[in-house]
Symmetry: C2
Amino acid sequence: MTETTLTEQHRELLDQVLDKWSLQILEALCGSPLRFNELRRAIPLVTQKSLTAALRRLERNGMVERVVTGTRPVAVEYRITPLGDSLQDLIDALLHWTTETLPAVERARASFDDA
Amino acid sequence: MTETTLTEQHRELLDQVLDKWSLQILEALCGSPLRFNELRRAIPLVTQKSLTAALRRLERNGMVERVVTGTRPVAVEYRITPLGDSLQDLIDALLHWTTETLPAVERARASFDDA
DNA sequence: CGGTATCCAGAAAGATACTG
DNA sequence: CAGTATCTTTCTGGATACCG
């Protein structure tokens, strides 16, 4: 039997890769690799600081790869890794679940907010 | 074709039901319904405030049900709903993924932290 | 028992300016 | 282009006290 307890390590990993900006970064990169400023444009509300932080976290956890190509001016490309691809499957499952349950959730919210 | 874009609504829902405490609450409740202080004991590090806030959020989104039984003293039972059960399946998938990829993630972290 | 209310400290996030 | 540094503000989370 495999152990199925939700430990702090599991939760920490999920927190680091499923946060607000990381979801959108992964979604943007799953089509094709993008440069830093291309990512900024793909995710309109993100600040430079938050984008940098999220990218570093994803890179540290092996989900994206940072590739420096040019030298003057510097060109940096971010691409999804195989590990990131497996995460993308999971995100698709999350997205599928939200799409399915959102109507019921909205009904629950409306009835809760009445009371 | 179904639309598979990650909108703000989808992300908001995930944020509200997949946060640190909600994951542990759902895990605790999936066995059997629990009272408020039983939940506190089941999740050692949670404060009263955080537990209350997470329970209200889960209740509002239709994931758990709050059942008041006694009158003096008050007895409150929290039980998982069918919607919460569907979320539990998803959490199992998350847990399965973390269990599978954690070794690779730890290698990635070690190599990142070296540089 | 099952909460609410209040206060406060520390972390996170936004704005701005600067750099190789 | 791709960031870093700094400052400020905002939000979260813990500690504590109290209530029906």
